[in-house]
């Protein structure tokens, strides 16, 4: 079962903030976030290992609520370079599969 992401797509003006959500029906050991530009491979952004632990990357940060098996990615003061499709990935407890969500397409306009 893939993690579920929301929204599926979002359009923002440069400088606006965005939140992308990811939820899993299975207990996750860790949550990964990746960004994919059109025609390219996904690129790693960050890993979250513990419930509530936030790890940031410039103006992008994320959180992981272990109780709810939900993670959120926060993009602050979005830049044109943030455009792309964002994927959350989860590693289940009990096996070693890294499965990804359906993706969120983020478009930043000037």
């Amino acid at each position: 079962q893939q993690p579920v992401q929301s929204p599926q797509a979002v359009i923002l003006r440069e400088g606006e903030d965005a939140v992308i959500n990811c939820s899993s029906s299975k207990a996750l050991y860790s949550v990964h976030w990746y960004r994919q530009k059109h025609g390219e491979a996904p690129v790693f952004l960050m890993i979250l290992l513990k419930g509530g632990e936030q790890k940031g990357h410039e103006k992008i940060s994320a959180s992981f609520n272990e109780k709810k098996q939900q993670s959120s990615l926060y993009l602050t003061a979005s830049q044109l370079s943030y455009s792309g499709t964002y994927f959350c990935g989860g590693v289940d407890f009990g096996n070693e599969k890294l499965t990804f969500g359906t993706g969120t397409r983020l478009t930043i306009i000037p």
């Binding site: 050991y29 491979a41 890294l98």
Partner: protein, 114 residues
Amino acid sequence: DAGITQSPRHKVTETGTPVTLRCHQTENHRYMYWYRQDPGHGLRLIHYSYGVKDTDKGEVSDGYSVSRSKTEDFLLTLESATSSQTSVYFCAISRGPGTNTEAFFGQGTRLTVV
């Protein structure tokens, strides 16, 4: 950049023919994955490997088989290609989910089954 190479990068094949895609890594990572990417479905796990000759199924494994006879190579075979297997295929490598490190992706293989 992580040393991961997929071949071929593009392939057109006929329905019913077998097809093999190759993923080659130079990082000596233990885990290797095959995903397919289709609009509306994101990245779906086909098969993965956690060591030489150690493989397991993912979410969409029907019609696919894999082999890993060496640490560096992970092969994905479509036993009898169908039009529903037209997709972009990505290979990924990682030291392992338990090591809390990221996965690195290859550049993808665009497969068209006609």
